[in-house]
Subunit: 203 residues, 2 copies
């Protein structure tokens, strides 16, 4: 409810301003618009995001170990989530607002029985979501992460729940380098794998 | 915004009721709670749902043609979406409220280059989401669909956008039969493939 309470407070504030009971404060409105879900401590460590499974899902790339000589960088499903306000901004402008958080949550491939990692189910042979197994996060903050095209990369562990409570920024070679080399033109994001962002058909 | 406007109207109504300006009307509140996104015409055809890509994503089963002798029933990613109020109800009670709509949208596997349907990308060899390619929908209505455990099954086409505008209920042999045989115990839903519903870890 936090977001809608925020909107309600804003609406009440604007209404009171219109009634002459409160001074108008456009600075406060602008700050709210740029509000980020990302929280950093005084050492620059990022706090584990919450609530992201209720954000907008944009895609599910899957690179199983069985197709990568047992050594995939991400042997799990990647479920990628972005808050709706930031998806909407990307669709309107081609770039994400400051403060945007993109969550990539990993889920294991459910109990593989074939060498490629697949299994048989009534719907056919293929891949199905197993347990949650990790979360990587990227945050847009052009000042804080100026050295990596304005995005910082964090991992809260590649393991089952609970995930790590906080994380330090990953070195360029681990995450940002691959984004800079491949997706700098699409605001550092793999939109070519995300139909909602790539094909722009709306919700 | 429709939902939040609805909530606002409700809040205003309740406030006015509390102020003695309006009679309290708990019947109306109950009716709202059971409101369904499903719309049927006078012939029982269901109207194509809208807005579902902003619903809660629960899982992405994938049964590519390449692993099913070229004849998978669903050769695409299945992206499964459910409205949050109905996910919450399932998590609380183990069954979905009357009126629940579950959307399974299909996306093609992006440009396969290997016989199993996979391709190579910087993150490894695997599967990535291509274009939208169809939508199947199931609706819980215990009276309307009493013959199939209270759920009706519809397809709005397995093809690129635009999808069909309306759909007739599918015969038992096409959809419901497999659900009755395999997932009757989990309210006709494949929760074993949906971590959010299966593992109950919340958002």
């Amino acid at each position: 409810m936090q977001k809608y309470l925020g909107v309600s407070v804003l609406v009440v504030g604007v209404s009171l301003a219109a009634m002459g009971l409160f001074p108008s404060n456009t600075g406060r409105v602008a700050a709210q618009t740029q509000q980020s879900t990302a929280v950093f401590d005084s050492n620059g460590k990022m706090k584990l995001p919450t609530g992201y499974r209720a954000w907008i899902f944009v895609g599910a790339p899957l690179t199983p170990n069985g197709l990568n000589n047992g050594k995939a960088n991400f042997p799990e499903y990647h479920h990628v989530y972005i808050e709706k306000k930031n998806v909407d901004a990307y669709l309107a402008t081609g770039s994400f607002p400051e403060g945007t958080v993109i969550v990539k949550e990993l889920t294991r491939v459910l109990n593989p029985t074939f060498p490629d990692g697949s299994r048989k189910e009534p719907s056919g042979r293929g891949y199905f979501n197993g347990e949650y197994n990790g979360i990587d996060v990227t945050v847009k903050d052009s000042k804080r992460f100026a050295a990596t095209n304005g995005w910082g990369f964090f991992t809260f562990g590649h393991h089952p729940l609970p995930y790590d409570e906080s994380a330090t920024e990953q070195p360029v070679t681990v995450c940002a380098g691959c984004h800079i080399a491949n997706v700098a033109a699409t605001d550092m994001t793999w939109v070519q794998f995300y139909p909602l962002l790539r094909d722009k058909k709306g919700y």
